[in-house]
């Protein structure tokens, strides 16, 4: 290893937290819609991009400030998700479309959205003019933006936890996810719940888009760079499980950032960090095919006793 290399572990953990927060924001929406509608919405990538562009329009074209842009991205992307269900996926489901039909429809829908955005905002890279210079927080170099995004992600996780466990609407969401017809039979307005899930899931994607774009740039393919890792987090965490997804998102963030250190030490390209994330995913699925959410003490005991 290189002489005089004194890696700042705290900084690397902070970086991992930042990477993980992004995956969590992008993946929660994906797992929510998957949990209730049972199909992977590939157009989710475009929702991420859409949020980034909306924030740009509000913050830099209308000059209403970056905070207003973030809020607008949250609301507008949420509404886009609701509209997608009302006008596209809802009618398809009512006509009896299968998972395959819905998946292919979402791919096509995503392409339409991507090129529409390219038409509206252009192909050229865009940047938010808002800028908050970094400072040292103890041993860690941070920017207000990075801090606020980590805070936002953690806060959202907490709010979701309360929503799902303490409120009626949360219980209705869980019921709809587990068994839609039973939920409907017991008096839950599943239609409203489905629209709420679309709104929340898409809004979080929009937020993730602003976060990624403020750190890099805004392009029509912004969402695609995150989508693959988001899917990995969803599968790793156990499809439809919000807690599993949160855990998986942060785990992938850590594995990726720690992997970079190993790769650089081995003089390899950091392109392989994707590979490391997926290796973790593959091994996790071999031992827990249902994802992390499927792991219970009973299943571990069963596995141990069957092997022993």
């Amino acid at each position: 290893m290189v002489d005089g290399l004194s890696l700042n572990i705290a900084q690397i953990l902070f970086n991992s937290l930042l990477t993980g927060s992004l995956y969590v924001l992008a993946a929660i929406g994906l797992t929510l819609t998957y949990g209730i509608l049972k199909f992977p919405n590939v157009a989710h990538a475009e929702f991420i991009t859409f949020g980034a562009y909306i924030a740009y329009t509000v913050a830099d074209i209308w000059k209403l400030g970056f905070e207003a842009g973030v809020l607008a991205a949250f609301v507008a992307t949420g509404l886009l998700g609701v509209a997608s269900h009302i006008f596209l996926f809802g009618p398809l489901i009512r006509k009896g479309a299968s998972i395959l039909h819905l998946t292919v429809a979402s791919v096509g829908y995503g392409i339409v959205l991507r090129y529409a955005m390219q038409e509206i905002w252009g192909r050229k890279d865009l940047y938010y003019s808002a800028y908050y210079p970094g400072f040292d927080l103890g041993p860690i170099r941070v920017t207000p933006l990075w801090l606020s995004f980590i805070f936002l992600a953690v806060a959202i996780v907490a709010v979701f936890h309360l929503l799902l466990t303490k409120t009626k609407i949360g219980k209705a969401m869980r019921a709809t996810s587990n068994n839609p017809s039973l939920a409907q039979a017991s008096g839950i307005d599943t239609r409203k719940i489905i629209l709420l899930v679309w709104f929340l899931g898409s809004a979080l994607a929009g937020l993730g888009g602003v976060m990624k774009a403020s750190d890099t740039r805004i392009t029509p393919v912004l969402g695609w760079d995150i989508l693959i890792m988001s899917f990995a987090a969803v599968i790793f965490g156990g499809v439809g499980s919000i807690y599993g997804t949160i855990f998986a998102g942060y785990t992938l963030g850590f594995v990726e950032n720690l992997g970079v250190i190993g790769l650089v030490a081995l003089k390899l390209s950091t392109e392989y960090r994707f590979l490391l994330g997926f290796l973790v995913l593959v091994f996790a699925l071999i031992f827990a095919p249902q994802g992390i959410a499927g792991i219970t003490f009973k299943s571990i005991r069963r596995r141990l006793s069957s092997s022993g």
Binding site: L5, L7, S16, T19, P133, G134, K212, R217, I261, E271
Partner: protein, 464 residues
Amino acid sequence: MGKVCDMRENSDRKGISTAAAAALAVVLLIVGVAAGYFAGSATVTPQTTTLTQTVARTITTTQTVSAAQTVTQTVTQTATVTTTAAAPGGLPEKVKIGVLLPLSGELGSIGVRMLYGAHIAAKIVNDSGGIGGRPVQIIAEDTAAVPDKALDAVKKLVEVQGVQVIVGPATSVEAATIAKYLNDRKVPAISMSATAAALSNLAKQYGDTYFWRVVGSDTIQARALADIMKEKGFKRIVTFVVSNDYGIGMEQMLLAQPGMRDRVVLTIRYDPTKGDYRTELEQVRAANPDVIFYALWVESGKIVFRQALDLGLDKIPTMGGEGMADEAFFADPRAAEYMVKTGLFGTRPTYDPKTYSYQIFYNMHKRLYGDEPSLFADYTYDATMVAILAVGHAGVYDGAKIKNALALTGQYYIGATGMKAMDPSTGDLLSQDYLIWRVELKDGKPTYNFNYGFWSLGTGVVWK
């Protein structure tokens, strides 16, 4: 495409009137010698009797350049009045020079103006009688700077047009793509702007040298960069490169320079699609370097710079190769801020535009097109001139023989962009000069100062 800059910014256009007269005399001399040479080789291989009628005339000219120098040469012009093809061993009625350039697409606007250089070379040669009386014809094909299209275009030139020598292609990826085909069909190509170091291995890879270039390989640039690093006293160097042929090539070339393995303390190859480089940059900081050497792509590079600024790495000096001298980096104000704060500096191929050879090209460009030559038109002119001279040298329109003539042709050709001596085992230019640029603030805006320094094999590093 490698971006080459000339020294037009600091050239003095006014003081050439007396020089122009002398230049003209020397040019006439060069052209005269060249024409005589063509004629000479043309007469060595006599026309066969299949030609129905051949009118030959011999002109003897004497040019007096100075009292001491008198050059006498014989120019034999052979004009055929029949339409039959040329006799075996001779030159065809029209000597076709194929040109591969991006005439559409992203680089189309540059490519169209690069083609001017080829037409200027053909015009100068044709005005003085062509090659042994046979006029030169430029046949251009559009590659759009896309490798697949370049392969289609070169096949069209060789198989449909029967072209035996090619000028181009412009980019290194295109060159790597068509190299095997050139070797298989034994047709040499001379690139004006492909600088990737890996192209030096094409000759070894395919068995023979059918790819040549009149612009310096990045191998020479690496030597310039290593010299500059030593001159600046940098002892702890970190390389931060994009993980592809361009970036890894730069890293490897730099490490191959004498003494550099001890100085480079950390090498990082980053993924251009990721957009999250904080942990890579943290490792750079931990290595405590004197300088960071960057070879980035613009799109991902802007993100690297922005995040380096956010992480507070703006106290460490930065360097780069010619690819880093690109104003597209300034599109992100944070990236530009980082480049200014760290005083990013680096190299770029250059030459002296005050030479007679450059003025001939320049004046003809003004006369024919009414404006200043744009990027790479000069190198395209030289590549075309070398191709034409090699056909004359070979005396026959045959790719393999033209290829054999290229090394010697380049040896004795001093072009608009300098000496064009090339290594027959690699096709590489033997010598290339570099200017040293630096990112500076001018009137509050980030700009490239192309007059920060100079490097050549002869002079070493010179600061201005």
